[in-house]
Amino acid sequence: METKETAPATTAPEKKRRPRGREERGPLASVALHVTLLLASAIAVLPPLWLLVTSFKPQSEAFSTDLVKDFTFGNYDHVLNDTEFPNWLLNSLVVVGLTTVIGVFIAATTGYAVSRFKFPGMRPLMWLLLITQMFPVAVLIVPLYNLLASLGLLNQPVGLVVTYLTIAVPFCAWMMKGYFDTIPVEIDEAGRVDGLNPFGTFWRLIVPLAKPGLAVTGFYSFITGWAEVAYASAFMTGEENLTLAGGLQTFVNQYTSDWGSLTAAAVIVAVPAAVIFGFAQRHLVSGLTAGATKS
């Protein structure tokens, strides 16, 4: 893409001119840059935007290409009052809330331990965290289904929380390790000199410094739970026990296609995720790359 910059430059009159620097570009290159970015933005924004538009159309016009002709909140009204949607929302909130809080906490302690201490079992642990991230749903889902069934945890939020922890925590722990590695060890040492034990150092000195990292980790846990489909579809049955991912499937399947309800529900699902994303994204770049480059 950098070549775009030089294209107009080479046609310039003087033959041996200085190549353009990083912060300079010709007018043609500017136009090309903006056109490309606008096009890409349009492709990125169109599907969510279309979802929003469709949710305000009457059910019968779900597929019309008009922007909203008869603006209506009917779909939202229907979804919130006549379906199990509020239940699914509540189920999802419980599951995701617990996953996030527990996940962030244990990912942080683990990340801190592997970042600061050398202890027997550290290498196998890091290896375990790495390999757990790769586990396909397919290997575990049947035995896990049987295990949860025998413990009576099918259709229980707790079952899903524990399952999601195994998905979210390994990656989060790696991210937190990367983040803790960027906090100078001298801070720990100062804390120890002042008489704090390792837990105290962690809790009172390091955790406050690691807030951006914790935000990203929390965001990742939240999204993992909010958007997980396979386990949620397999472990939760019965209309009122579903989470959002499972529930929304019931609006559009081989028997029914209630696109009006689906779009309204989808918008309600997407908004909290987008809001949380908005809070976390400020730290997203630093957090993710700290985790990614170090791992």
Binding site: P19, A40, I43, F117, F119, P136, S233, A266
Partner: protein, 336 residues
């Protein structure tokens, strides 16, 4: 960076106590106990994770491996009907399941498509993410706007996006075909023709994956010291030379990590295919993971043993990738 859990002072004192005063009656701190005394902080901090992974990943994994050597299905596993417990009646069949899978064309078809799917998704989203990051990583009017817009697909939960794409892909009434009709082009059977369905699922996954690549690459670009570029400019390097010789090498660590991570995620990507096409038409878009899921939760009777065997094979494939990755890390000098 890492410090020893116990300070060396403690160590020295311990060692002395063994040599010098270690003979106190009734006081014989064994090696195990000393190790514990030194490291219990660290162990306490990792214990919850180890427990959760052990119970929820370790046990099912072992059990899944066992199931894969039996003929367990819906009809012969342990069941509870009302108050009656029907005991399991499945039995061991050795490696028959594996033999059946590996000698059947279905597995190899699914494997080929899974590889095509993974490679094309990762390559496309990486190329697009890098291109967009390079464009955004400079002074530019409206940069914040572009950034927010381009990251938006990431802010929407994947399954919501997939449903939205199903709405757009609808063959008779969807927006995409209506736009095409406006341009005089015949409707495309996005999800109903094997080839188009494959293109569609890849499109959606790339659309979902670009923001992650974009953000990671932006971070990588910003971590390259500006002095390098200044020096190159002084030496008269043009934009392409700077990109080729500073930007690309500077991105290598970030790039290799995100490519590996997103490769594994894509290989295991369940929701896109499951919700967009249900693996169809036929099993054209079914990747290994969704096929294994189909065996145990969609078809009837549910084939638990077959599904488990597929799962073990998938895991074996991924382990090979992981080992290769660890080798690569070692070469780069990662210490652990």
């Amino acid at each position: 960076m890492a410090v020893e859990t116990g300070q060396s002072v403690v160590r020295a004192a311990d060692a002395e106590s063994i040599r010098g005063r270690g003979h106190r009656p009734g006081k014989n701190p064994g090696r195990l106990r000393r190790t514990f005394a030194t490291h219990w902080y660290a162990w306490a901090m990792v214990a919850p994770v180890v427990t959760v992974i052990g119970v929820i990943v370790g046990y099912p994994l072992v059990r899944g491996m066992y199931l894969s050597t039996t003929n367990a299905n819906e009809a012969n596993v342990e069941r509870h009907i009302g108050v009656n417990d029907i005991p399991a009646t499945y039995e061991s069949v050795g490696l028959d399941n594996y033999q059946a899978i590996l000698s059947d064309g279905v597995f190899w078809d699914r494997l080929t498509w899974t590889v095509v799917w993974t490679v094309s998704c990762v390559a496309l989203s990486f190329a697009l993410g890098l291109a967009l990051a390079t464009m955004l990583n400079r002074k530019l009017a409206g940069r914040t706007f572009y950034r927010m817009a381009l990251i938006l697909p990431w802010a929407v939960p994947a399954f919501v996006s997939v449903f939205t794409w199903r709405l757009l892909f609808n063959e008779k009434k969807g927006l995409l075909n209506k736009l095409l009709a406006g341009g005089g082009i015949d409707a495309i059977p996005w999800l109903n023709d094997p080839t188009w369905a494959k293109i569609s699922v890849i499109t959606v996954n790339v659309w979902l994956g670009v923001p992650f690549m974009l953000v990671a690459m932006l971070g990588g670009l910003q971590s390259i010291p500006g002095e390098l570029y200044e020096a190159a400019e002084m030496d008269g390097a043009n934009a392409w030379q700077r990109f080729r010789h500073i930007t690309l090498p500077g991105l290598r660590t970030v790039a290799s990590t995100v490519i590996l991570i997103s490769g594994i995620w894509t290989f295991n990507m369940f929701p896109v295919i499951f919700l967009l096409t249900r693996g169809g038409p036929g099993d054209a878009t079914e990747i290994l993971v969704t096929y294994a899921y189909r065996l145990s939760f969609v078809v009837s009777p549910r084939d638990f043993a077959g599904s488990a065997a597929w799962g073990v094979l998938i895991l074996a494939l991924l382990s090979i990738i992981a080992v290769a990755y660890r080798r690569a890390l070692r070469k780069q000098g990662e210490v652990w």
